[in-house]
Symmetry: C2
Amino acid sequence: MKRPSAVAILGCGTVGGATAALLLSQRSMLAAKTGLDIELRYIVDKDFSHAESLNLDPGLFETELDKVLADPDVLAVVELIGGTGIARTLTEKILRAGKRVVTANKALLAKHGAELMAVAREAGVSISFEASCGGGIPILRALYDGILPNRIDAFYGIVNGTCNYILTEMMQKGNSYQEALKEAQEAGLAEADPTLDVTGGDSAHKLAIMSSLAFAQRVDLESVPVQGIDSLKLIDLNFGRELGYVVKLLAIAQSEEDGLALRVRPAFISTEHPLAWVSGPFNAVSVYGHAVGHTMYYGRGAGGSPTASAVTADIISSCMGTADTVFSTLNIWPDRTKKAVLLPQEDIQGRYYVRLMVEDQPGVFAQIAGILGENQISLSSVLQKEPYNDKADAVPVVITTHSVREGNLRTALAALDKLPVVREPSICIEILDEHEEIFA
Amino acid sequence: MKRPSAVAILGCGTVGGATAALLLSQRSMLAAKTGLDIELRYIVDKDFSHAESLNLDPGLFETELDKVLADPDVLAVVELIGGTGIARTLTEKILRAGKRVVTANKALLAKHGAELMAVAREAGVSISFEASCGGGIPILRALYDGILPNRIDAFYGIVNGTCNYILTEMMQKGNSYQEALKEAQEAGLAEADPTLDVTGGDSAHKLAIMSSLAFAQRVDLESVPVQGIDSLKLIDLNFGRELGYVVKLLAIAQSEEDGLALRVRPAFISTEHPLAWVSGPFNAVSVYGHAVGHTMYYGRGAGGSPTASAVTADIISSCMGTADTVFSTLNIWPDRTKKAVLLPQEDIQGRYYVRLMVEDQPGVFAQIAGILGENQISLSSVLQKEPYNDKADAVPVVITTHSVREGNLRTALAALDKLPVVREPSICIEILDEHEEIFA
């Protein structure tokens, strides 16, 4: 009693190859578990050198997408080309041909998700994108299924394995950012051009996708403030450790009275928080629901095989029909929701770590405290250390604040940076406290 | 465009009350997100004093289940009576009336799951039980959906919050088991009669349910070896800590060549393992899939509100139709799978911590080493400590083994316990190393 279902993979790179290998090598296991006989019928690409290196059957290779779309047995096409150019055009074409789309393309979803969903809806099919966020971690399923009954109050995600690997190396080995990046590249965990990862762009894509589902509000990617890890200094990681914190590149989303507070940035979290334990290339997302409280989802956020797991889960639900049902029934998809009101960055309320490099002379702290006070910045702790370099005539002053308005702090820091006794631009890192579980 | 769906709750205790409160107070939020207008139409019970204490509308109270089952608008009934007596009879009755069942009843599922599923199938409906394992954590959805494409190689779960709270208290505060149990009771985290929790029975129910889905094999609850935390001594937790381990009550499942190796027992895991960080009443399950590698799911494993989150997720999928689709399509449900072959406990291969209390005299260790050697027990480390009590004439010898057959170790320990120099029955605790990620 197995339902036959043919599928095609479009783009045979790392994830495409791993997905093909999974579908082919585990076909009988998948059929036994799912009751569906999923046949990989086509691998569509221009160049099959990677596919050949994996010893995939050349009988599957096809250069003409039109031929695939004309095959009435094909239920779903897996888009693994990446990017927002040709991938966008072809995704539309696939949907208009009445085929379901499964994709791992976070940039495409973050930028054109609503528009593509509208096309899918018009064509009476669905678009599934579990693999776009958190690699193999079924985090989107948690949001649209497992904890759907909750009003989501916040989520905090480590969603870029490259950055997490680099930060873990810096903290555990005392390496500089540049050294750690080089190690990540040598370990195959960072691209030759790591820009999209280390500047936070990739995390922002995932934040936009996850926020849209979590809060059932369409998030405009361009409005999300993004800061990367590429300017982090080891000295701040070390001061953070003394204070009981580790730094992580976080995708942060909080639902506040006046709108969503979203940002991607390196932030300090307590070593007691489960996210602090997530090391190396692993990813994790902590989600806070009004009924369920704190839940966390952990796993490999990238790599061919883990991503192929998520892609194949979507292939199964596309062939089984549940993907169509949730896509047509639920109202949380970006093409059905209103545009989110985002809190301006300066209106974010948070706690912050600030490091100032100041001249080691009397009266300096009074000047600093004066400016902070004028801006309603209330201090939680102050740490003044011996000069960290014998030759330096400036000493670090490390301050942590109570909850303050970020705009006030930025104003204060701009004023501090102009003081003659402040020798370097101030460093400011948000401290993210554990989100309160509300249960109401 | 909201589909009307009426549901009933059977049994209004802690979880029933929390589910009713969630459905009623969040009805418009749920309708906005799901596109379903889920109406809680009946609360069925004999006694409504708890329901009244929650100020639930008495218009919902109904003592006659038959009347509910005769209402054609009712799509699903939520069974929250608990136990395997009347709950079993009524669940059958509900299913035969053509209503979907949503349940949090782990004992019922572990003991009569296959039989009840067969009834559901005959009646053309489904039975959903996310809340039976891990409270609010969507762990069953991970197994039947999110990481379904994987051959599951193993999973390790902390699935009893009472035990985890007690063990966390023992380790963090140095309290004895009895003191920690008393604290848990005072904090409302342990029942007055904590037997089912602390002896591991509750964890075994969850192990049976999760194993059945993870491995698509029907697990006979009675065949699972179960050991609780009620005989754990602080001295062993302290020795474990010195060796880099923490003790957790674990539901352990490994897929081996000759069958499934299942057990519930207190076990040592490395402080580096994500499960080691799970403290207090939180639960978590680490699952190892052949494609996705290590994934972990974390959250509150009990309590009215978190459990109501899982129950409501099942209500939604029951009303939306996806519960019926996965139940009718997939072949992993216990009524459709073969009975699992379980590895006998003595054939489990593992590493172990052993503590012997021996007379402090020459030649003792030679006797111990001799017996271990005869039984092919190879040692990984040996720690002999000063007497831990001035008056004691016995000293602890702590051994960790390499991977050995558990049967051999048990034979060796029985022989050791008969040695005149061994003063107390030996203590043996499994050491669970990180499961290798396979990706093949």
